[in-house]
Every structure is written in structure tokens, then in C-alpha cells.
Symmetry: C2
Subunit: 152 residues, 2 copies
């Protein structure tokens, strides 16, 4: 196999990985009776919580790229099944903070945290040098992809 062919195969492997990674989110959605937007929203809220922040409705809309009307409906759905709570911000009472319920947080940690744990475990066989190569490669690929995902 030529070097060029090898590079193309690696690119294909990356694409296949991407498909499977999306399927992980889809599976979580199926298991919990949610749609993909709801899952993306929960992940965004969970990420913010891990950073010690509490997303407002508006910031959530930016994170998942939805208009305010859709965010209201989205939060209604998540609140109805008990995954999040609306908490009016006492500093600025126009704002609505979003807090994940314990159960939703636990379910998310179980599902996505479990994946993260297995991924890092699968990397234990790699030397520091090898991981450095992988990291550099990921950064390079992400840079290229980001250029394509925004302007050309």
C-alpha cells in the first residue's frame, strides 16, 4: 500500500469512528425516550455543570443552535420528564438557569462517562510518545475540519 493510500484509509477510519460516536448519542436517546437535540442539550448542560456553571436558556440555545421558541419547547420537554429544573436567576430575573436533576446527571455520567472511562482504559497500552503522536494528529485533523465546518 502506498503512503497516499494509507492516509486515505486513516481518513476513512476517522469517518467510521465519527459515525459510531454519533450512534452512541443516538443510543442514549433511544434508551431514555429522547431525541438527538434533547441529548445534545443535556450534554451541554452537563458540561457546564462540570465547569461549575449553570447554563441559561439563551446560552443553551447557542450551544445547540436553536431559536428561543425552540429552546422554550426543549426545556419544557426536559422539565416535563424531570431531567432539568428552571431556576430564575435572582441577580437578573429575566434569566432562567437550568439545573440537571440528580437522576439525569447520573444517567449521563453512566452512559458517557462509561465511554470516556473505556476509551482512556484502551489507551493504557500506549506509550507517552505514541499518545503524543495521536494528540498532535487529532489537533491537526481538528484544525483542518474546523476550517471546513466554518468558512471554506
Amino acid at each position: 500500500m502506498t503512503d497516499e493510500e494509507e492516509r486515505r484509509e486513516v481518513a476513512l477510519l476517522l469517518r467510521r469512528l465519527n459515525v459510531e460516536l454519533d450512534a452512541v448519542g443516538q443510543r442514549f436517546a433511544d434508551l431514555h425516550g429522547l431525541n438527538r437535540t434533547d441529548v445534545r442539550a443535556l450534554v451541554a448542560i452537563m458540561d457546564a455543570a462540570r465547569r461549575g456553571e449553570s447554563l441559561t436558556a439563551g446560552r443553551l440555545g447557542e450551544a445547540v443552535d436553536l431559536r428561543s421558541a425552540s429552546v422554550t419547547a426543549l426545556v419544557d420537554r426536559l422539565e416535563r420528564v424531570g431531567h432539568v429544573r428552571r431556576v430564575r436567576d435572582p441577580e437578573d430575573r429575566r434569566r432562567v438557569g437550568l439545573q440537571m436533576s440528580e437522576s439525569a446527571m447520573a444517567a449521563g455520567a453512566e452512559h458517557f462517562g462509561g465511554l470516556a472511562r473505556d476509551l482512556t482504559a484502551a489507551m493504557e497500552g500506549y506509550s507517552a510518545d505514541e499518545l503524543a503522536v495521536v494528540r498532535r494528529w487529532l489537533e491537526d485533523m481538528t484544525a483542518v475540519i474546523t476550517r471546513h465546518s466554518r468558512g471554506s
Copy 2:
């Protein structure tokens, strides 16, 4: 940084890459007035065409996980804007083959092929050994992820 932290960071980089890769598809959708399902369908049809096959409506439904009613609507949309053509199979006249138009094929090649080209180009600086590490890592990660995307 400990080895464990480094592994976690690499996992986070992979997740970030995944987000950007999804955004590439979203951008193609925006540019061409399509939704994400339509893009996934076009990609599936394009992949099949590259393998010399012609997807039927049913197989397309399996590829993008839609019921037959939705596939009919999907193909209606794509046909209406001239991206695909329905071609009744003369062997089995119940079946409907899907052929991509030249313009749609060109647009897809331009967008996704351009990304693939840039990705492989960005790998030119990597030695065969380094690429082998990356490839092994991708295969390992994909195996873990696939286990999570199907049964746990």
C-alpha cells in the same frame, strides 16, 4: 501532567473533533438548503455509487434508519430539487433505484472530497510509523465506541 490526564485530554480532543466533523455536514446542509437527514442520504447514495452500486429506496432507509413512509418523503424532496432520480429496476419492478444527478455528485465531491483531500494532505508530515500508531489507535477507539453504540 500525569499519563491519566493526558489520556483524558486525548479523549476530549476526539470528542471535539467529532463535533466539528458533524458541523461539516451541517454546513453542507445549510449551503444547499437541505436538512441533516437529506445530507446523510446523499452521502449514503454517493458512497454506494462509488462502490458501483445503486441503492434502492429500502436500502437507503436502512442506511439512514427511516421507515418506508419517510423514505418516500425523503426521496421526493431530493428528487424535487434534482439531486436524485428514481429508476425502476427492470429485474424486479417493485424496486426503485436511486441515481444521483451529476450536479449533486459534483457538489458532494467538492465539499466532502475537499475535506478528505485536506485531511490526507495534513497527514503528509507523518512518518509511516506515526501513521501506523494513529491507525491502531483509531481502530482501538472505534472498537470501544462500537461496543457502546450497540449493546453496552
